[in-house]
Symmetry: C2
Subunit: 202 residues, 2 copies
C-alpha cells in the first residue's frame, strides 16, 4: 500500500486536487490518500469547498506528494515556511506530482532546478518567474523528469495522473480507470491542444 | 446571484461533485455554492475526501440542486428520509442536475416519471430498476428534459455542467471556461463514446 499526501492551502483550485483524487482513489488496494495543510484543520478552495486536513510536518514523507495550483499559490510562493516544508517533503518523497501552478511552488524550492517541468498556460510567465533555472516546457499536457511529474492547467492533472499510473502499473490499468470514469484520456503527454491557443480567436 | 445546493452523502463519488463545482465555481459573480447533507457535519466520499456540510431541510429550495452519484446511492435509494427530502427539494428548485448514479436517487422520488434521463453506463440496469417509468436514454453524454439535467458517468458531469451553462448563458461562456481549465469539452450531449463500449475488447 502506497501513501499519497496531498498538500492543501486556502484558495487551492478544486479540480487540481479532486481530479487526481478521483483516479488514485479508485485503486483502493494500492493507494491510501490523506489531506494535509501547514496548520491542519479546515482549508477552503477557491470554489468554496471546505476540506478537513491533518497538520503537516517537515519530516513527513510520502510515496506520492501532490501539490495543486490555484490562486492561493500567488500568496504561498512568498510564505517561507510553506516553501521550506514543500522542499523538505519533496526531497524525502518517492514521487512528487504537481498540477497547474503547483509547479510554481515546487520551482520556488529549487528542487527542480535543471529539470524539465510544465504548468498552466495562462499563468506560464508568472510560474517561470518563480524558478528561472527550471527547464520549462510550455507545450506539454504534462512533463516527467525523474521523480517529478508536473501537469499543465487544471484538467491536465487527470491526464498526468493516468500517465503516472500507466508508467507505474501499465497502460491497461490507466485505460481501465479512464473507461470507468467515462473520461477521454489524452494519453500522449506531448499533445497539448491548449498550447498558445488564444481563446478570443476561436 | 443564483444559489447552488449540492447534496452530499457518505460514499459519494468525488469527481461527480467537484467537476461541476470547479466549473460553476469559476462564475463567482453568478453562482454561490453550498454543500449540504441530511444531518450536516462531515461527509466522506468513496475516495476519502472529508467535506464540511450544512444540515438540509426539506423546505430548502435552490436555483440549482445538484445530486451526485457513487456507491453511496445503493444505500440511499432505500433511505426514505433521503428520498422524500430529495423529492421535496427537487420539486421546489428551479433546476435539478444529477451526475452518474445520482439519477437513481432522483428517479426513486418519482419526480422524473415520464421524462427522459440518463446515467452511468456500467450501473445502467440498476439505475433503471429504481425508476421504471422514466424514459431512460442509454446513449447520451447527458440528457435534458425540462428543468432536469442528468449526466452519464463521473466525468460526464463536467460536460453536462458546461452544457447547462451554454443553455443558460450561451456557448461562448461555456467554451471560455473549458479553455480556462484546459478541458476538452464534449459539446454534443448525444455523442457518447462510452455507449455499449466493452473495455475488455479494446
Amino acid at each position: 500500500m502506497k501513501n499519497i499526501g496531498i498538500l492543501l492551502f486556502n484558495n487551492f483550485e478544486t479540480l487540481d486536487v479532486f481530479g487526481p483524487v478521483e483516479i488514485f482513489g479508485r485503486l483502493k488496494d494500492l493507494y491510501h490518500i490523506e489531506f494535509y495543510s501547514l496548520e491542519g484543520g479546515v482549508v477552503t478552495s477557491t470554489q468554496n469547498v471546505k476540506i478537513l486536513t491533518q497538520k503537516l510536518s517537515e519530516k513527513d514523507q510520502f510515496d506520492i506528494f501532490l501539490i495543486p495550483g490555484g490562486m492561493g499559490t500567488r500568496k504561498e510562493v512568498d510564505h517561507p515556511e510553506m516553501i521550506s516544508t514543500i522542499s523538505d517533503i519533496s526531497s524525502l518523497s518517492t514521487h512528487v506530482l504537481t498540477v497547474c501552478t503547483g509547479s510554481a511552488l515546487l520551482a520556488k524550492t529549487g528542487q527542480i532546478n535543471g529539470l524539465s517541468a510544465t504548468s498552466n498556460k495562462r499563468s506560464f510567465d508568472w510560474v517561470v518567474s518563480q524558478g528561472s533555472k527550471v527547464n520549462w516546457i510550455k507545450k506539454a499536457r504534462w512533463a516527467v523528469d525523474g521523480k517529478y511529474y508536473t501537469s499543465s492547467g487544471v484538467s491536465a492533472g487527470m491526464d498526468m495522473t493516468l500517465g503516472f499510473i500507466s508508467d507505474v502499473h501499465g497502460i491497461d490499468l490507466a485505460r481501465k480507470i479512464a473507461y470507468e470514469i467515462e473520461y477521454t484520456w489524452q494519453e500522449n503527454k506531448e499533445v497539448d491542444e491548449f498550447y498558445l491557443q488564444d481563446f478570443k480567436q476561436n
